[in-house]
Symmetry: C2
Subunit: 500 residues, 2 copies
């Protein structure tokens, strides 16, 4: 049975801002077999090892007693067990607006919008390379719906030089939004400067900054069994700063992972355990999420597929593995479609439900993804928000009071009559059902008379309205202004080159 | 944990033809409150009563001891309890091709396509009134995908006079398909002639016909608390013939039912229990399904909405009530959208998942519905089949053998490599993942070069291919030919007028 939704007392923030899963987590493998998969992942790490490209990370493993052969790290099961013992069961993801803080833990449900997209598209300007203007527009969209629980880096502001991009992205997030921040793990210099900007903008003491995760980053392993330099660096740097690494092997069954669901999960699990272990060696107790983004490729073309049975099963199996090791975890929705069509909606809906069935605690790419993440689409974003709002409303248990059971209302209405005027309806009609964001419920005649407008065109009107009316939360400009000097100085000194 | 899918041994019929629910049923109310809702529904029937417009049905209740005041029938809880004791826990829905028989019981999952649509639409001929040609085309579509488990009456062949329509519809079903048949409950004459045609076409003895449900009908109550003449007649006639009534109050919260989920469910439950009781009084042990089709109306416009939180919650609550009384049950998906857009896909996906969460045993309107059922759309049908095939594949537990866990495959591939050539991949790639029916997984460049074709246009190509290649199962023409004389004679005698 669903738990009652947490109430959000902050003015102007709806119940959608803090969600608990309404459904019990599902299983696709027996608990015994999940145990076997965990053991097999340990064997992968012990016997086959991980290739780690960052010497500093290899050294961390070596100091802890791992067997090292060149850049191959063989991680013993005791070391993994130690890491799992120190990794926190819950992580406080703090927001500039503390009313938007999120405790990530078993049972919690958070949605992150589409991230990592190099391109942007909308029906007015078409598909194009992401730029700072479209990134800032996307931030406005992300801020405008409470069901989006953190910011994501998309579309990529490609018109900003890479050595200065972290300035523009941190500043834009602070200036336009008060939700939890995201930064890229693109090398120590950018990460450290980003930490510094956040601490400065939010006026945090060193202890306060280290006491919660004020930003998060996604760490993708390069499946199979490879951890590259910037990702390993991010794991270490975020851990030492007490900031959140979201560990995410991207295991596409049949391509970078075994073709079976079980095999792809074993590989994912091994890689996630390796990354989690590195965080805990860097700083025991460091915040970290278990994660997986698993689906399949089409075996004819090699193209990644989303919303497929394999995608859903990978989400459910990942949830089982996460609960096996007792950590909160992230999953991902996704869509391969190239446009705002039924395919796009279907893929995202299916993969969202996969995350629901797996009880993912933080679901990525829930709004705006097209082309397997190559494009952030504004119309798609609006359409996906409708789906997320539907799911968020399922998190609230329906009224089961005596009045709700409705005998009195039923007795008021004669056979064949209607309930529009019962006392119960009159008392509840304003708030009984949330108005749809995008769905047009008019009949065919009215809809045709109004120009037969399909949902993608209506979605354009919705995002245009968001931009027209957009007003950043009050405190934003103050926060952003506190880092203006830092950015000017840093820019003058040449910024911070990204590492790859 | 999901059960293993039943194997289907018949040649040419895939595993999608027989499904068991992969997920545990969910709850939105406590078991105690479900018990209270059941009691309250009994109180509705005892104290408020049902209006029953068919004197024969009133008489059936009267003979059994119900209190009658004019056309109001007050049904005591003992009478309901007796009906629930005799109603079967499982129902054999027999098909002309016995390999397509379906046992409807707890845990089973069946999909019925969109039904009851007066109109039809496709991208070539546009939206128009349903006719016999489009009904026959829809039957070809329904027959072509194993994940559709029974036939549905849509679009309505409005060009056939109503007194002859049952001839055309039964003949078309037999001629084009070998799946379980549906007939309308539009009066005793049409129903009895339809039974006779089916028995004749399938060469069934009287005992054989009475021994399974060779056809089914949907019985909608006229919520609130009204049972009209043809529906009451169908309940009696189907029960006495051992054929299946699918009892379905259509309770739209806020309109024909209380505005609360709990209240709408209490009304639905009362009406369903009244109808089930009538079947059991007509013939104890008669096949009958509990059912509900519940959603909400938009409180601004009064328009029915689908795929909403209320729709999903009604499905889950209905499942709880069905399990409370121990009967298998039907639910419904649905979409309000007027066209093949993201809204349409989203609504159907959401409501399908509601049926999954409620563990509905037979889900109606799963493919082709648009405009809240006013139109059967061919492109929408194809798109929905993709969703149903995805769900059907989730019913098959993933391989959890040692080979599937993949340690050997993982050890074959060096860090950063790929799995395309592992022994495991080579052995499995042909069958590992079902090819999508409609999804285009090509990248944006290829997709654009091919004309930027969206999913609704591709869906047209799919259904055109179905019609081009369609060949009815071998035995169909023999079955249909057996009733040619009966139809000719019946037509000469003036057919059978429908009752309303």
């Amino acid at each position: 049975m669903r738990r009652k939704s947490r109430s959000t007392k902050a003015k102007g923030i709806s119940a959608a801002a803090h969600l608990d899963h309404p459904f019990a987590p599902q299983r696709i493998f027996s608990d015994d077999r999940i145990g076997d998969m965990h053991d097999l992942a340990l064997k992968v790490l012990e016997d086959l090892g991980m290739k780690v490209l960052l010497p500093e990370a290899v050294e961390v493993f070596a100091v802890a007693g791992a067997r090292i052969v060149d850049d191959m790290v063989f991680i013993g099961r005791d070391m993994v067990a130690g890491a799992l013992a120190s990794a926190p069961r819950q992580v406080l993801m703090a927001a500039p607006n503390r009313a938007r803080d999120q405790m990530i833990a078993e049972g919690r449900l958070l949605f992150s919008p589409g991230g990592g997209c190099p391109n942007v598209s909308d029906r007015i300007k078409g598909r194009r390379a992401g730029d700072l203007a479209s990134y800032r527009d996307a931030l406005r969209l992300m801020q405008s719906y409470d069901v989006i629980h953190k910011l994501a880096p998309a579309p990529e502001p490609q018109d900003v030089p890479t050595h200065l991009r972290h300035y523009a992205m941190v500043k834009s997030q602070l200036e336009l939004s008060d939700k939890p921040l995201t930064i890229y793990g693109r090398g120590r210099a950018q990460v450290m400067q980003s930490f510094e900007m956040i601490q400065m903008a939010l006026e945090l003491s060193d202890d306060a900054f280290a006491g919660a995760s004020w930003c998060s980053t996604v760490v993708n392993t390069n499946s199979p069994r490879l951890l590259d330099r910037p990702m390993a660096q991010a794991l270490i740097d975020f851990a030492r700063a007490g900031q959140l690494s979201i560990v995410t092997p991207f295991c596409l069954a049949g391509a970078m992972a075994p073709i079976t669901i079980a095999g792809a999960l074993v590989l994912q699990h091994a890689e996630a355990l390796a990354a989690i272990t590195l965080t805990q060696l860097a700083r025991p107790g460091a915040p970290v999420l278990y994660g997986g983004f698993g689906s399949n490729v089409d075996m004819k073309s090699g193209a990644p597929a989303f919303g497929t049975p394999a995608h859903i099963q990978m989400s459910i199996g990942s949830g089982q593995l996460a609960r096996h090791i007792g950590l909160p975890w992230r999953s991902a929705a996704g869509a391969a479609s190239n446009t705002n069509d039924m395919q796009a909606a279907g893929e995202t809906h299916m993969s969202l439900w996969g995350a629901m069935m797996g009880n993912a605690n933080l679901v990525f790419h829930t709004a705006g993804w097209l082309e397997g993440g190559l494009t952030f689409g504004f119309e798609k974003f609006i359409n996906d928000i409708e789906a997320l709002q539907t799911l968020s409303q399922l998190c609230i248990a329906p009224d089961d009071s005596d009045d709700a059971l409705g005998f009195e209302a039923i007795s008021e209405v004669k056979p064949g009559g209607h309930f529009f005027e019962t006392k119960q309806t009159m008392a509840r009609y304003r708030t009984a059902f949330a108005a749809p964001l995008l769905a047009d419920l008019s009949n065919f005649g009215s809809w045709s008379a109004e120009g037969s407008v399909p949902s993608d065109v209506r979605a354009t009107e919705v995002w245009q309205g968001v931009f027209r009316d957009y007003r950043a939360p009050d405190a934003c400009s103050d926060r952003a202004s506190r880092i203006a000097r830092f950015i000017a100085d840093g820019t003058a000194k040449g910024g911070a080159v990204i590492e790859s």
